[in-house]
Symmetry: C2
Subunit: 360 residues, 2 copies
């Protein structure tokens, strides 16, 4: 009997409660496909800091590296913001995990479920049918570059420093993921940078172009400035199929795009490296304001679990069925607060889990 090692890291805020629903879906997949999941659970973020004094313990990281997939909830909260040393903040745990697993390609879908097209801020015809895949570089860029820090200046005062560094190899490996994905989709990639003001963007543009010309002549490539891309995502988002970005631009642009779909609570992500375990997490944060109330939308978490089944656990069919079940639950009228609208049935976190399982 096939068996997989899975590490679950629910994290802070709404993480634990939405993870509970994702586990129910995992149990369904195990039973349905006769697979054994050796599931272990651990801490990351603020809760890990409280218990271990660090946001990601070495033992946890070792377990992560030994897993087939790591499925995470979310990290952070106001009780730690600016109140713990910079390298001990919840986000440092997440960044360390991404870096150590070397998951350099973060896939984020912005899909507008038809049942939710009216929940978007945008007019329906601009978002109905929207299906953008972001391929965001996740293990380099200004998030990780040195020198960094806050220093005293000789003339008095202080300076804050961060460094963006991208090597050609780092650019090529993530661009390759975008082009491979493009072949399975619309065969179009838009690559966003600020080549007009940053040399790291010039190198990005050159390397992406070279790779396309050499190996993916069948894929259409467009370069777009990150500021213009932000604007186009509001103006006419359906012009995009795949958007390839660096770490920082991907962070901002994918959040803007997320909102086009009606709610950030809908969007899963998969972070993939070269062969090691994948990391799966919702695009949304830990939502401390609604944590513990049982009202959080578990869909992004459940869809992240589905991505784990597809990309790391060889259960693509189970993933397809879970995605269909989410669609089914929405079509049946079930809504958490963030996506509620007139005439629909309001449910909490567990209620949405029930509705999705009922479709499976």
């Amino acid at each position: 009997m096939t068996s997989f090692n899975l590490l679950l890291l629910p994290g802070d805020g709404i993480g634990p409660e939405i993870m509970t629903e994702a586990k129910r879906v995992l149990d369904w997949a195990a039973a349905e496909y006769g697979v054994t999941f050796n599931v272990s659970e651990d801490l990351i973020g603020g809760c890990a800091y409280e218990k271990y004094g660090v946001p990601l313990a070495d033992e946890t990281l070792a377990k992560a590296k030994a897993s087939d997939a790591v499925v995470m909830g979310s990290v952070g909260g106001p009780q730690w913001d600016g109140k713990v040393a910079y390298d001990k903040r919840p986000e440092a745990g997440l960044l360390k995990l991404r870096k150590e697993l070397d998951v350099f390609a973060n896939l984020r879908s912005a899909i507008c479920f038809d049942a939710l097209a009216d929940a978007s801020s945008l007019k329906r015809d601009l978002v109905a049918g929207l299906d953008i895949l972001f391929v965001r570089e996740l293990s380099s860029g200004v998030y990780f570059g040195n020198p960094r820090g806050i220093e005293d200046l000789p003339e008095g005062g202080r300076v804050g420093i961060n460094t963006q560094r991208y090597t050609d190899k780092e650019i090529i490996r993530v661009a390759r993921v975008a082009f491979e994905m493009a072949r399975k989709r619309g065969s179009r990639v838009a690559s966003a940078d600020k080549a007009n003001v940053m040399e790291s963007g010039v190198l990005w543009r050159e390397e992406v172009t070279k790779l396309r010309d050499a190996e993916y002549p069948d894929v259409a490539l467009e370069h777009v400035l990150a500021d213009n891309c932000a604007m186009q995502l509001v103006r006419a988002p359906k012009q995009y199929d795949i958007i390839l970005t660096d770490n920082l631009f991907g962070d901002i642009l994918s959040d803007a795009a997320a909102m086009l779909t009606g709610s950030l609570g809908m969007l899963p992500s998969a972070s993939l490296g070269d062969g090691g375990p994948g990391l799966y997490e919702p695009v949304h944060g830990s939502a401390p304001d609604i944590a513990g109330k049982g009202v959080a939308n578990p869909i992004a978490m459940i869809l992240s679990m589905a991505m784990a089944l597809r990309y790391s656990l060889g259960l693509g069919e189970a993933a397809d069925r879970i995605e269909k079940a989410v669609d089914g639950a929405l079509n049946a009228g079930f809504r958490t607060g963030d996506i509620m609208s007139g005439g629909m049935t309001r449910v909490g976190t567990t209620g949405m889990g029930d509705a999705i399982l009922a479709e499976l």
Copy 2:
């Protein structure tokens, strides 16, 4: 008789044709208020490169520094993208001008004119009455930090490098502008950063907070992560009054916000330093695809001229009247292509200029 020195830099693409309309408005102000403008005109961007071999000639820069205000069109175009040395590209001329004039506070309004609320991608109730003022740091950050460039690596391959550096003084002087503006408006500032991943953002947050606590306790201050801000601008933009940002985040976030107003063609900007000449330019770019066709929307350019009259030339009343005239022309149904909708009167660049002058 009062007289002012004005340098006009129409630039590339649609720059010259929209500048023509702004000059008509300037002539109106001169006659109406009995003021003399000593207007001189010069080149910047690609056109300067073609003529002088550099995107901003020293003579032009000297003229700019000796002016009371510099009013610019736009720079750039595909004929130069990636085809000229990096320090000779059109944008390098603009960046040099900003840096040399030390105009560190870039004010960008995202105002939704009522007549255009239906032209926005967003649902009308989300944008009607929208009035956000961005205060973007413009003369530092990753745009200007060293080290920068593309280097060969010892192990083979290349690396692209850019450096973000912000000193406490640079942060404080631009934050001060935001707080001063806040006192004249809604007394609320949202400051956007990525303090959760960048130390330069941590310093930004600390210094902004300290300044508020020490000198502007009457102004409400909120810190927002740049990715969340991008999302909130799509979700519920009217929650913001003033948004304070660094150079790069301001570039991206203000472009996204611009689109909320219906068209990027509507938005002017003012860049102010400490006493020297201000720099005034539309938020939009050179729109090479429609250049020379006489269809570009001149409103952002005309409103930029109005900002010059207000902030550098002591003619606030003239500025008020020009802004009213733009509103009037829109209410009278005149529309360029970018903001056209059913039942309105389609006009070109000159036609829109006529319609605005008719209201003056």
